[in-house]
Structure formats: structure tokens, C-alpha cells
Subunit: 215 residues, 4 copies
């Protein structure tokens, strides 16, 4: 029985969610990681997966790179979901320390390379939003779209399942934000998810996870 | 004869084009102001209008405000075509000295108010482009769209004919930039007009001028 | 008696303090304008002057320009103390909308010109601080010094009494901030004055006012 | 003879200069690396050292990190002179992609750690200048001083010989730039070295190299 239990424990797939403040909030009671766990329970597969949040506020791609040993590899995960990019764009405006597009790509690839060398499955997300307006006047949309396009290309080149939150959120807003609000649909403040947004992201992630590491 | 000549001279409507480096280049041999003059000659109405370029490289809305006495009012024009906004957005990124959206609107309105007080007809343009890519990844498109939206609202509130170059260039690129190039369609460098672009702008301006000050 | 009262009222010199959030806070119970009023009372000359705060948070030089009619000229002051510049430098970093040095000078001169045309005495201040460290590592010190130098030159060219708060605060910090703290000496947060700072500014202003408009 | 030659070749200490555009230009005929080689020849020790330039224009600390395998470790150097920091500060203003101070320190330490693990001696330089004015109005001096201070602390914590170019250039300018010029003393354009500047840096580097890896 002890062996069995131990065996059963070993069977739990460990998934680390690696990201910024959105992911840091993801482990809160209404956060997207918590909600994904609930979704897995509803599907009666909750006991098969251990979901671990590894989000730190303000993180850009090279912050993830710098702490991947401590916060990801040391946890020996089976899979990692990377969700980063908002601060790489946003900090250009707010502190002059955003990330150059070409360096963004290099560090992103370096993270994936190191995870794959450790036999960890890698799923990657596009950044969801900096502003929810639907008339194309969110100030940073062009740059955010540029970095989302880079991530899509990285996913393709590395055969990583893509969770295209950018596209999903754009589509959702086009359908549901008829009043062209800058926040309040899926976010509280243009960037961070409200409860509806957390549920939405949990579901989008499940769609892709269920076709890859949860298959 | 002298009187006649003088009389004829008085009849010429004087139109000042007030703007930035795009307008500064507009008086060059292949510039949009030169091309508009040629267009008026083709229409046999070239002798009715005097077209004056008043563009200075790097100008933002408050630069126009600061030099309107010297460069516009002193010329006693019948009409002024204002075309500004690219640098108000662009300089946020390149030098940290772009223009806040609310101040942009205030100075724009202050310019229009002063021109109208001098019985000068005012036509206003939206900024054309910072990048010609059609997949929504031009870095500054969101902010440029925001300022274009402000200008459309200013035009409406002040009953100024609007030359919506932003919309016209977007439409043209969607139809003619299938390869998603960042420049080379209507611009040389994402911002400044190539010869095709100058012709395009001259025609767009004529469409609106012919319905207003040239009617 | 009514006439006498009215006459007495007319005798009060009205001084407007025209600036940003530091001046907005200046009318608070421990603010520098309040403290200057108390200082005048101690000197038994408080009833000779009416001190009016006209500070708005986030203001840059062109914000002052845009609201000088409403907030200064309409009050028919005898003298105006202009204190602006911190946001013109700071906003370059925090929002990409600081003020170009040459435009800063042009708007500053335009404000002075209009005040002088209305026979209003003008005193001008250099910006005090963005950070109080004394080892020359306050991030924006170079640029702040540049704008302070521009203001000193404007004062000289326009024969305006100069209240050199930048120099005074630097000197004070060199003597009193031996631990190289970034705030807490004269400011609460590197920019806004603590009570000691408000007292310090009130005294610095009095030194110059007592030699000019209060002489 | 072949063996002797080969043996002699093996004896040459290989020193890599690892940096940005200043170092990229350092291998030019009048560049600082070339001049340092000439200095070593004058001292009759030129045949003991092989000097290798590894500078790339626009590089920030994390660019060095990303290419250290290819451009430094693969060359199996005995010593590396790291000179970086100007772009980490400058790009905050020019492109919104400077480096956060804390990340600058982390990547710098990561580079040193990896070099030391490979038994490579590490010497580090402070960034020289962004502007040569001596009245404390070089726009980015505060931030540059801050990063120089970080580098001094890194040198101390890692027991790396420090080539304090920032201090040396400041001292030189205070003595030799009485007219407060923004460039033309040791730089051509506020940042890149003129011939005098290249000579100056070669000598400053020799002072420290001769006390450490060349001792």
C-alpha cells in the first residue's frame, strides 16, 4: 500500500506555470491556475496533475531566464506553461526598460532549449492584452501584436503547443465589448484578469493542455 | 493692366499647408504640395490658388502652435491644412518627448480657434502612418490610431473638413501591401512619402479641398 | 468705512504661486505657501499680501501656458512665482511625454512675456529635486540640472528674480544627507516636500521675495 | 623550430575585450585595443599577449551574456576585459529598451561566474561617458553614475580588478574641458572615443592590466 501510494504520487504530472504578475495572481482563490484545477476536478482528472504557480510581478522574458533554475528546474516538472510578454512591451513606456524584439526571441528560445534538454514539455502562450478596446486604439497593441507574432513563430519552430491567448482575447472582446471599454471585460485594469478573465484563460489553457500533456 | 494684375493676384486663394517633415518635403519637386499644384493645373484651376508649404521637421502640435503667428497668420491665408501627429506619437519612443493625448487635443483646438478668429478656413488631416504593415504589428499603430481618433473628433466638433489620411492609407495598404512590407508602398521609411505616396496624398487632399475651400 | 475697507483690500499685494503637484500641496496646512503666510505673519507683514496657490498635479511648462488665462491672469495678481520643471524631465521616463529642452524654454518665455504684458512681476524657481542622493547617482539629475540651467538663463535674460531651489536643495543635502538617502531629507518621495522641505522652500522664497516684490 | 614556435605561441596570454561599439571600434587602426598593443610593443612585451576584440555595436549586458559562449569561451582566453553599460542606460531614452539596474547586476554577475568557472581572469570597466560636459548637465549622467557604482560594487564583491574609466574620464574632463563642451575632448560624439580618447583608455587599461594579468 505504501508502495502503491508512492507509485500513485509519482504518477501525478507536475505542471509549472511560469510567468509574471498575471500568473502570480493565478494561484489566488479565483485565479486561473486555481480555476484550471477546479476544471480538472470537474473532469475527474484533478488527482492526476499537480499545478504549480511560478509567477513574479513585473517579470520579463529575461527574468524568467534568470530564475528558471531555482523556480522551475528544481521542481522537476513534467511540463511548463510559459506566459510572458506584457512587461517586455509595457516597460518600454513606463520605465524605458522593455525588451528588444530580437533579444526577446533569443531569451525565449534559450528558455525552451534548456527545458527541453531536461525533458520537460513546453507550452507557450501569447500575451493577452494591454487594453481591451476594440477600435484598434489600445496604445500598445501594435507592439503587443508584434511580440505575439514572434511567440507564434517560436512555437512553430520549436514544436511547442501554442495557447494563443492574444487571439482568443481579441476575438472575445470583438464579440463582447461592443462599448469599446478599455477594461472590465476580461481584465480589471487593461492587463490583469478579472474573475471572468481567469475562467476564460483556464478554459483556453485546458483546450490545449487536453490535446497535449493531458492527453 | 497693373490694376487688373493686382486684382487677379488678390483673387488667388492662399492655402498654407502646416505640418512636420512630411509637409517640409511636400514642396520638393515630387512632393505632395507640388503634385497638388500640378493637379490643379490639369483641372485648369491652378491660377486660382497659391499653395504655401509651412512644414518643419520634427514638429509636434505645440510646435505648430508656437510658430503659427510667424509662419501662418503673417501670410494671411484663406485656408490652412493642418497635418500633424506623427511626431507626437513617435517621439514618445525615440526621445521621451511625445505629447500627452489630452494636451494634443488642447493645443490642436487652440490652433483652430486662433485660425477661425482670423477668418481662416481650417482643414485637418489624420496622421498617415508609422509603418505600413497590414498584420497589425506596426509598433505604434495603437497610439497612432488613438491620436487619429482624437483628430476626427476635433474635426467634427469644430466643423472642419477632415482629410482622413490614416484611413485612406490603411485601406490602400490592405489592398496593395499583400506582402506585409513595413515600408515601400506609400512611404520610403515607414513615415515619409515616396513619390506614389505624395501623389496619393495630393489626390486625397484634392477630394476634400474640392468639396470645401475650392468649391 | 466700506470705502476704507475696500481701499485696504486693494492694497494687499496678490501673489500667485503657479506650478505642479508640489505647489498644489503648498496650500495644505503644512505646505510651503501656508508656511510662507505664517512667516509673513511672524514678520508682521502678513496682512499686506494675499498668497494664492495655482498648482495642478502633473503639470509641465505647457500646461501652465494653457491655463494661465484662467488660473493666473483672471486673478489679476501683482506677482507670480513660477515653479515648474520636474514633470518636464520626469515624464520622459515615466510616460514618454516629457518636454524637449528647446520647447521648454520657448513656452517658459511665452508665459513670462504674457505676464509682463499684464504688468505682473515674475519670479522664477529652478526645480528642486528628483532624488536626494548626494553621490551623483540620482537617475535624472543630469537632465534636471540641464533644465535648471535653462531656467537660470531665462531669469537672467528676462530680469526675473531667481529662486534657485535646485542649488539650495543640493547644498542642503550635501550638508545634511551624509547617509546618501534618496528621500526623507527634504522630500517624502524624492520629489514632493516633507514638512521640513516645505519650511525650507518657504524660507528660500521669502529671501528672494523680500528683496523684490515684498521690498 | 616548429616546436619552439608552437611552444612560444602557447605562451602568449590571450586577452579578450568584451563589449559594445566602443570596443568594436577598438580594433581599428587608431582604436584602443590597437593602441594598447602598440603600448605593449613599446614596453617590449607585445609578443607575450594576444589581444582580441569582441565588441558588437548596441550591446547591453545581456547581449554579452547571450554571446559569451560563441565569442569568448570558444576562444579560450586567459583573461577577459568586460566593458559594458552605456547602452543599458542610453537605450532607456532612445528606444525604451534599457536594462533595469537590478537585472544589469544579475547578468553581470552571471557573466563573471561563468568566466571564473572556466578559470578566466576577469577585469571590469565602468562606462566612460554619455556626454563630456563638466557642469553636471549631461542628461544621463545620474543614471550612468548609478550603473558605474553598481559595477564598482560588482568588482569588489568578485575580487575583479577595476578599470574605472568613468572616474578617469570625469577627472580628465574636469581638468581639460574648461569650455564645458559636450564632446570633442575624449569622444567624437559624447560616447565613442576619438584618437585621444582611445589612447587615454589604452593607458588606463594598461595601468590595471600591468598590476594584474600582465604582472
Amino acid at each position: 500500500m505504501v508502495l502503491l501510494s508512492s507509485f500513485s504520487y509519482q504518477q501525478k504530472k507536475r505542471i509549472v506555470f511560469f510567468g509574471d504578475s498575471i500568473t502570480q495572481a493565478g494561484v489566488q482563490p479565483t485565479g486561473y491556475i486555481t480555476k484550471l484545477g477546479q476544471l480538472l476536478n470537474e473532469k475527474k482528472i484533478g488527482d492526476k496533475y499537480e499545478l504549480i504557480g511560478a509567477g513574479i510581478s513585473g517579470n520579463k522574458v529575461y527574468d524568467l531566464y534568470l530564475r528558471m533554475e531555482d523556480d522551475v528546474l528544481s521542481k522537476k516538472p513534467d511540463a511548463v506553461v510559459i506566459w510572458v510578454g506584457v512587461n517586455d512591451v509595457w516597460h518600454k513606456r513606463t520605465s524605458g526598460t522593455g525588451t528588444d524584439a530580437d533579444k526577446f526571441e533569443k531569451f525565449y528560445n534559450a528558455i525552451i532549449k534548456k527545458l527541453k534538454e531536461n525533458n520537460i514539455a513546453v507550452l507557450i502562450c501569447t500575451p493577452a492584452a494591454i487594453g481591451e478596446k476594440t477600435d484598434f486604439t489600445n496604445e500598445l497593441d501594435g507592439d503587443l501584436n508584434k511580440y505575439a507574432a514572434i511567440i507564434r513563430s517560436i512555437a512553430k519552430n520549436n514544436n511547442c503547443p501554442l495557447i494563443d491567448l492574444r487571439q482568443a482575447v481579441l476575438n472575445y472582446n470583438l464579440a463582447n465589448n461592443k462599448e469599446n471599454k478599455e477594461s472590465g471585460i476580461l481584465t480589471t485594469d487593461r492587463v490583469h484578469l478579472n474573475e471572468k478573465g481567469n475562467q476564460f484563460v483556464a478554459e483556453e489553457m485546458y483546450k490545449v493542455l487536453s490535446q497535449s500533456v493531458m492527453k
